[in-house]
Symmetry: C3
Subunit: 466 residues, 3 copies
């Protein structure tokens, strides 16, 4: 049974205030401006299949820990790229998770699962090898009931709005279906052009062809490429998008002359572009996306610093998003200077910056967010989206950027059922941080009441124009 | 009303000890060996004009937060370089600060202001939009009374000695006036040669001309340049200086042959020096300044790692020190090796190193300060001069460098009225850190009593030979 | 007198749980899989000479603090390379330590010494200038009694197994003597090939000659070099070794073609190798050592990131390990990619990675250890082997790597008498961390009981196959 005081400091002086602050925000609606839930689940509103296919197989947060302890991905049912058979006995896979559930002690994944099991399925006993199959049975039964349909859960979770992440050429058909279905749930797309921007990716050319088809603009050079992107942004805006997102290895920004960009674009089309071409092209596209955002009002998001598919054996056998994504050091002060100089003083432009390199919080990101009107600081992300990670985020950014240059919480998840768990954890950590500050008379209780609302709903609405 | 227990841990076990330690040091004199207060205010001893010109306009710590939230610097009365008119209604500007005072929640700037308002002006109500003009009136009145003259405040603040920061060619006329006035306040200069060392700066040549005039040595080449600097250091020492200071992008150190240095110096005079020339020249000048310090006994200070004037639009319109200074990553182990090898084993030389890159505290700076006799570790500086920043400084440096290779507190401010607030905050944070350690039996209470004095007065006097 | 509650949080809620957890592990045997104690002391089992030669002269942890405060190494009795006489009055040297014992306040060295003085010698009074000689007398007397012989202390310390660190060509004669003596103490070697791998080191050629003699394989080229190393690993395994260790400046890994490696090896033999040769050669040898470990089962340890002998004056006068070793920034994600791709998915291979750059804990090392089956995360090392350092280690790694991808504690010391102090401190810090997590309901008390055992004995046995 998860404890009502979880994630609060045990000091009575702090816990009391944290409890009070949390009581005011715990039932506020969930606003999820950045995530990876598949919109299809709301469009089709079909039952989720079973606990293993719901919790384990699609979630590299979960299975990476089992992999790190020696379980092969095949034994965990992760589908291979070439169709080689993998474990299909979902109960057996579930048993592995249950037998090893102690491995998740002290991890956010463990905390989220415990919350989901209890608050969504009513399972208060800690998962272990003995109760594994009983819990599987119970969940399986519930998943087949109408109360566990995606739209019902969406409402039960009190989600005010959720954003998906969608490729530049995505038809947004499921978003359309949702809109046309008459269901009131607000599911909006977000524009992510990485597929057409990363010119060295294996499938880049097919992505460009998709872009041509989707936009109706035949992309033959840099100019038509830019036109096609502008065209798609318009469509995304019509479909409710409020933001874009780019995942980049480095936040390097630099505007190329159109002729320079065109030369690189042609090399990419001919398959002769190299790494420095890609770096220059991505740096230029960050500038272009900022320019477009300053015109069309989409909030720009930059997620920087992860080396994807570090484990090439896992990548070739199982594909993307299999736990082999490892952060690298990043540099923001010099890399983002050109973008911030060009657009950072605009009050009608917003760029939200996320890092996986915590060393840049206090040193680079908070000072920049505490100066440039356009820049806001994204919350603790991915490996840092954890109790200690969020604490460090607040400790390292608040004094320089202030609370008001941050943008609330992002769950950033593809695991729909984990959304309430993640937001609840974030609210608790923030309320505890505020309570700590009240207990040390850094802020007063009036400020804390105001801030607990701001960190939960106020700042995210303002930042994403929601 | 600010709380008597502020910045102390709410744990009764810690708060009790922290209170006891703090009670012993709270009234100790202020020793301020590094800062940027204008000596003219003490020379002339005129009343400060009004709250806005006192608190907002000269202090980029304050106005950068308002700028980051969309207020133009013009609307905040910041003077432009070209004289374009800006807001002159000081009450209107004050109202903006008051309306937005909540933005400073959790920031050191907010904490300092609250302390200044209450302890200097007796304003115990939190500033807000409603009481803004009343508080303005009250402060305005007080500022015109003799009790608020700079020298009176200096004495009231219990300042034992304060150091200003002065360019190599500065006449130190205000220091002379102070000395000759018979007033007992001790205001000493500090030698900062950045203007004549940064050979790529726009005004470098005019700085060199000033240096020639000030020293009486016509600077025509590297040799005369060095002579002129040595001459000025002598003059500063006569005027009471105990230290030098250099602000450098990187703490790279390397001695050039005099002929090499001269070639670069000539290129600089001809306007043909490039970035690698500057880097080499600055690296050489750190070596030269260390050599001079080992001869004349001035304590060397190195402040490394800030990229100045990041926001070029703000810089061209408003000039230096307008909040657009952003830290960068730094490397000390390799960069300072040559200097430390050449001078770091001298016991008659001291170099105090400051960083804005906290990642170097535990990794590089504490290990070096815990080995080289000459090296001491400067306190948490600038963006790190904050409650959490100081805590991290102690947590990351004490175990490797010990308390005794640190040098007390630097307020490093141009905001004279904030000096007691800053020292009080630092004393509280240090006492709380010591109390925390006592409560965990890492140190004992006898050590803590001794250390609270050392961290407040003892170590700074020893480090700066005061 | 050291306090029974030391290093536990003063919060009653935490201290109570920490005390309970600690009571269960405090008497567990010491398992020391990585350290630098000289096996000769157990082979010969002679009395330790005197407090100064026991505590000060061989331990650069201790004397670097005195050096940093202006005491020359000569005055501390550190022997010179050229035999220039140094202080030989051991009582005088002891008096310096005692007079300055306050310098160690808040440092792990101070904590270890206090523990050793009290728990090994029964000295409960804090060392100071007044009691210095009395304490010296008392220790001197005890050291001559049979109860203070190395083997007796080994048993008293409840050491289950201790590993030394031994060069590739080491005869392991003392290990043999110990085995043959019939004494039951388990002292095992560990294979450290740095001397024959660092091709630019002054004595590299003589190291290669030693390797030829030790292995019986005349090393004339890269192939015979590899054969000789494989030969020595076999011998170490016969002598009980379970692990290798490599100290590298950078964890860069890349396999060279045998012909490429041979070209570099020849340049090294001819004395014409350069820095990039060494980097390539070391990077290749990390790959080779991983390959061998995946074959012979020795656990691979990589200690990365320290620039040795930073202070060249001290190095030339006094030699290695004199406190002038300073950490540098490190990069693991890209540098270790090739090794992890080649061997990291093997479940019969283990590589334990240690860093002195804490910024890589959360950003790089925990994510990699939380994915690759072969990689485990070494504990807080060297400058980080301290109360706050260990806390940061747990706070920054647990959420991403989990507790179970870490490997317990390493004392890594040459100071035999400090071993119980170091393990006790580590156990206290870990129990306190667990208690903190229980108090915040991040883990439950059942997990905490299990984990306190795992962090003390379980994980280290598993990781090192003990």
């Amino acid at each position: 049974m998860i404890n009502e005081n979880r994630y609060f400091d045990a000091k009575p002086e702090v816990r009391k205030i944290a409890t009070e602050l949390y009581s005011e925000v715990k039932n506020l609606p969930i606003i999820s401006p950045h995530g990876h839930v598949d919109p299809r689940i709301f469009a089709e509103n079909k039952p989720f299949p079973n606990p293993t296919e719901l919790f384990i197989i699609p979630d590299h947060y979960i299975f990476r820990i089992l992999y790190s302890q020696g379980y092969s991905l095949e034994s965990l049912g992760i589908p291979t790229q070439d169709g080689t058979p993998v474990e299909k006995d979902y109960r057996k896979i579930w048993q592995i998770l249950a037998d090893n559930f102690y491995l998740y002690s002290g991890t956010p994944t463990g905390a989220w699962l415990a919350h989901e099991f209890e608050k969504v399925f009513g399972v208060t006993e800690k998962l272990n090898g003995d109760n594994a199959q009983d819990i599987y049975d119970l969940m399986l039964e519930k998943l087949q009931s109408p109360e566990y349909l995606p739209r019902t859960l969406f409402n039960k979770f009190n989600i005010e709005v959720i954003s998906t992440t969608d490729g530049a050429s995505d038809s947004l058909e499921y978003h359309k279906q949702i809109r046309e279905s008459g269901w009131s749930g607000k599911v909006i797309p977000s524009f992510r052009p990485d597929g057409v921007v990363n010119i060295l990716a294996d499938n880049w050319k097919s992505e460009i062809e998709k872009l041509s088809r989707a936009s109706g603009i035949t992309v033959t050079d840099y100019k038509t490429f830019i036109n096609a992107i502008e065209n798609r942004r318009k469509y995304f805006i019509e479909m409710g998008a409020v933001a874009t997102d780019q995942g980049v290895l480095s936040p390097y920004t630099h505007t190329l002359l159109p002729t320079e960009a065109n030369v690189i674009f042609n090399r990419a089309l001919n398959g002769t572009a190299n790494e420095s071409d890609e770096k220059a092209f991505v740096g230029n596209m960050l500038m272009e996306m900022a320019r477009m955002s300053s015109e069309d009002g989409l909030v720009m998001q930059i997620h920087a610093g992860v080396l994807r598919n570090h484990n090439q054996k896992i990548f070739s056998r199982f594909g993307l998003d299999k736990g082999g994504d490892i952060p690298i050091q990043n540099e923001f002060t010099k890399n983002m200077r050109e973008l911030l100089n060009e657009y950072g003083n605009h009050t009608n432009f917003k760029v939200i910056v996320f890092t996986l390199d915590e060393t840049s919080y206090a040193r680079e990101l908070a000072p920049m967010a505490g100066h440039y009107p356009a820049m806001k600081l994204g919350p603790a992300w991915w490996f840092n989206d954890s109790i200690q990670g969020m604490r460090r985020f607040r400790e390292m950014t608040t004094e320089t950027a202030g609370f008001y240059n941050t943008v609330g919480f992002n769950d950033d998840t593809r695991a729909f059922l984990s959304i309430p768990a993640r937001h609840d954890l974030a609210r608790r950590v923030d309320c505890n941080f505020l309570a700590q500050q009240v207990s040390e008379h850094i802020i007063d209780i009036d400020d804390a009441h105001k801030l607990s609302y701001e960190l939960t709903n106020g700042l995210v609405k303002k930042a994403y124009n929601l």
